[in-house]
C-alpha cells in the first residue's frame, strides 16, 4: 500500500512539472461569457469595467466584440498582444514567421524555455493561458511574398469575429519591406491601421495612425525618424545590425495599445503621429495629410474618395467666449509660427524633432547614377533570356 501512495505522490509531482513545462502553472480559469463590473478578487475584468464608473469609457464591454490583427510578434508586437489580451479584446490575429531565440531575452514577454518555438505559437499559448476568453488565430508566414500576401489580405478582410474585416491592424514589424506590404494591403482594402517602430539604435520610436485617404499613408513620404540628437559621426554601427532595449519597446507598445483602445472604445484623442526620443524624453506629436502625388495608386484613390465625402462635422462643446485674457498688449508680444515650410517635400509639414530619413527627388525621371543607358527592349523571350543567363 505504501508503494501505491509513493507512486501517486510521484505522479502528481511529475504532473506539476509537466504543467510548468507547458507554461500552465497553477489553475487556469474558465471562460467568462459576459464582462462583469462586480468588484471581487475573482473577477479579471473588475478594474477594466471600473473605467465606466469613473466616466472614462462609456461601453468597455464592447471590446469583447472587436478584432485586432498584430503583424510582427517581436519586442513590440508580443507586448502589444499581451496588453490587448489582458484588456479582454474579442479576437487577436497574430502574424510572424520567426522563431523565439535566446537573443530575444533582452525584450519582454517570451521566456527562455520557449526558444526554438515559432513566435506566434509560443505567444498564442501564453496569451490563451492569461485570458481564455480571447479568440486567438496564429499565422506563421512571411507576408511579403506573393502567395502569402494574398492570404494575409484575405485574413484581415474576413478574419473578424463576425467574418468581416478586422477593426484594426497593428504593424509591429522591424523592417521597411514588411511595412510597405502592410501599407499596400491596407490601402487596397481601405483598412485602418497603426504603424509602430523603434529605431535600430533603440533610443527612439514612434506610432502613426493611418486612415487610408484621410491621413498620410506609409508611402506618402520617406520614412520619418525622431531626431535622436546623436552626432551621426559618433554613432557606431560596426559589427551589429540593430540594438534593442525592453524599455523603449515597452513604451512604444504602451503608446500603440493606448491609442488603439482610445480609437476602438471612442475615448480621448487618438494621436495621428506620436514620436519618442529616449535620450531627451521628448514626445513630438503631429497630424500628417496624405501626399496627393503618393506613389501608391490606391492611396490616391482613397484620397479622392475621402475628399468626395461630405465633411463630418465634429460636435464641439460650445464655450462662452471670455474675451481676450489681455486686451491690451503694452509689450507688443506676438506669437510667431515656428514651423517654416519644408523645401524638399512641399506637402509634408513635420513637427520639430521629426525628419525624413532621406529625401527623394520629386522629379524621378532624371537618373542619378548611370551612364550605362536603359535596357533596350529585347526581341528575345523571357525563356530565352533565362536560358542565356543560365548558360553563362
Amino acid at each position: 500500500m505504501d508503494k501505491v501512495a509513493e507512486l501517486e505522490k510521484k505522479v502528481s509531482e511529475l504532473e506539476a512539472k509537466l504543467a510548468a513545462a507547458q507554461g500552465n502553472v497553477g489553475p487556469v480559469r474558465q471562460k467568462i461569457d459576459v464582462m462583469s463590473s462586480e468588484v471581487v478578487d475573482s473577477n479579471p475584468y473588475s478594474r477594466l469595467m471600473a473605467l465606466k464608473r469613473m466616466g472614462i469609457v462609456d461601453n468597455y464591454e464592447k471590446i469583447r466584440e472587436l478584432s485586432v490583427a498584430v503583424v510582427g510578434v517581436g519586442g513590440v508586437g508580443s507586448v502589444t498582444a499581451e496588453m490587448l489580451t489582458r484588456c479582454g479584446i474579442g479576437k487577436l490575429i497574430l502574424f510572424d514567421y520567426d522563431k523565439v531565440e535566446l537573443a530575444n531575452m533582452n525584450r519582454l514577454f517570451f521566456q527562455p524555455h520557449q526558444a526554438g518555438l515559432s513566435k506566434v505559437d509560443a505567444a498564442a499559448a501564453t496569451l490563451q493561458a492569461i485570458n481564455p476568453d480571447v479568440a486567438i488565430d496564429a499565422y506563421n508566414y512571411n507576408i511579403t511574398t506573393v502567395d502569402n500576401f494574398q492570404k494575409f489580405c484575405d485574413t484581415i478582410s474576413t478574419g473578424s469575429l463576425t467574418g468581416g474585416p478586422v477593426e484594426l491592424v497593428l504593424s509591429c514589424v522591424d523592417n521597411f519591406e514588411a511595412r510597405m506590404a502592410i501599407n499596400t494591403a491596407c490601402n487596397e482594402l481601405n483598412q485602418r491601421w497603426f504603424e509602430s517602430g523603434v529605431s535600430e539604435n533603440a533610443v527612439s520610436g514612434h506610432i502613426q495612425f493611418i486612415i487610408p485617404g484621410e491621413t498620410a499613408c506609409f508611402a506618402c513620404a520617406p520614412p520619418l525618424v525622431v531626431a535622436s540628437n546623436i552626432d551621426e559621426k559618433t554613432l557606431k554601427r560596426e559589427g551589429v545590425c540593430a540594438a534593442s532595449l525592453p524599455t523603449t519597446m515597452g513604451i512604444v507598445a504602451g503608446f500603440l495599445v493606448q491609442n488603439t483602445l482610445k480609437h476602438l472604445l471612442n475615448f480621448g484623442n487618438v494621436s495621428n503621429y506620436l514620436g519618442y526620443s529616449a535620450l531627451t524624453d521628448f514626445f513630438p506629436t503631429m497630424t500628417l495629410k496624405p501626399n496627393p502625388q503618393c506613389d501608391d495608386s490606391y492611396c490616391r484613390r482613397r484620397q479622392a474618395e475621402f475628399s468626395a465625402r461630405p465633411v463630418v462635422e465634429l460636435a464641439t462643446e460650445v464655450t462662452e467666449d471670455a474675451g481676450p485674457v489681455h486686451a491690451d498688449n503694452e509689450w507688443g508680444i506676438s506669437l510667431l509660427d515656428e514651423n517654416s515650410p519644408e523645401e524638399e517635400t512641399p506637402n509634408l509639414k513635420l513637427v520639430d524633432g521629426v525628419q525624413v530619413a532621406y529625401s527623394v527627388p520629386a522629379d524621378s525621371s532624371t537618373p542619378e547614377s548611370s551612364t550605362g543607358g536603359a535596357v533596350a527592349a529585347s526581341e528575345l523571350s523571357l525563356e530565352e533570356l533565362m536560358q542565356q543567363m543560365k548558360s553563362m
Binding site: T144, P222, Y358, S369, S370, G372, V375, M386, M389, M392
Partner: protein, 169 residues
C-alpha cells in the same frame, strides 16, 4: 557614400524602365525581361573585367531567385549559396539578399541570413525606383558586403576554405 569602384561598376549596368512588381501580371513579365537583360550585361562586364563573382537564376514566376556567389581571398576561392524572394512591394523596396550558409556566423545579418546593408543602400535605392533592379542590388549591396565581411569571417576561422570538385571550375 559609395566608393569610386562601386560607382563605376554601377554606372555600367543598364537601368530598368518598367515599374512593375510580381502582382502586375503582363507588366511583370516585361520587368523580368529587363531584369535578366541587366543581369546578363552585368555578368558580361564582370567577366571582361576578370571579376566574375556570381550566378543567379529564378523560378518561372521570377519571384524566387537562387544561385551562388564567390569571393577570392589570399588566392583561395570561397563560395556561398545565395537566395532571395521578390517581395510584393518590389521594386519600391529592394530584394532582401540572403546567404543562408552564413546565418548565425556574423552579427551583420538579419534572421535567415539576410545581409545587413549600409545606411547608404536604402536611400540610394529609393531615389532610383524603378530604375534599379536585381543587378544593382548585387553591385551595391552584396558586393561591398562580401568585401568587408568575408575576410573577417575567414580571419575569425568561422569560414573555412573547402577544396572544390572539378565541375565547379
Amino acid at each position: 557614400m559609395v566608393d569610386e569602384g562601386t560607382k563605376k561598376t554601377l554606372s555600367s549596368i543598364p537601368l530598368l524602365k518598367t515599374k512593375a512588381g510580381p502582382r502586375d501580371k503582363e507588366l511583370w513579365t516585361t520587368r523580368l525581361k529587363e531584369e535578366y537583360q541587366a543581369l546578363i550585361k552585368y555578368v558580361q562586364n564582370n567577366k571582361e573585367a576578370d571579376n566574375d563573382w556570381f550566378r543567379l537564376e529564378s523560378d518561372k514566376t521570377g519571384t524566387r531567385w537562387f544561385g551562388k556567389c564567390w569571393f577570392v581571398h589570399n588566392l583561395l576561392k570561397y563560395e556561398f549559396d545565395l537566395e532571395f524572394d521578390i517581395p510584393v512591394t518590389y521594386p519600391t523596396t529592394a530584394p532582401e539578399l540572403a546567404l543562408p550558409g552564413l546565418d548565425g556566423k556574423t552579427a551583420k545579418m538579419y534572421r535567415g541570413g539576410k545581409i545587413c546593408l549600409t545606411d547608404h543602400f536604402k536611400p540610394l535605392w529609393a531615389r532610383n525606383v524603378p530604375r534599379f533592379g536585381i543587378a544593382h542590388a548585387m553591385a551595391l549591396g552584396l558586393g561591398p558586403w562580401l568585401a568587408v565581411e568575408v575576410p573577417e569571417l575567414i580571419e575569425r576561422g568561422v569560414v573555412k576554405y573547402q577544396e572544390k570538385s572539378e565541375e565547379a571550375k
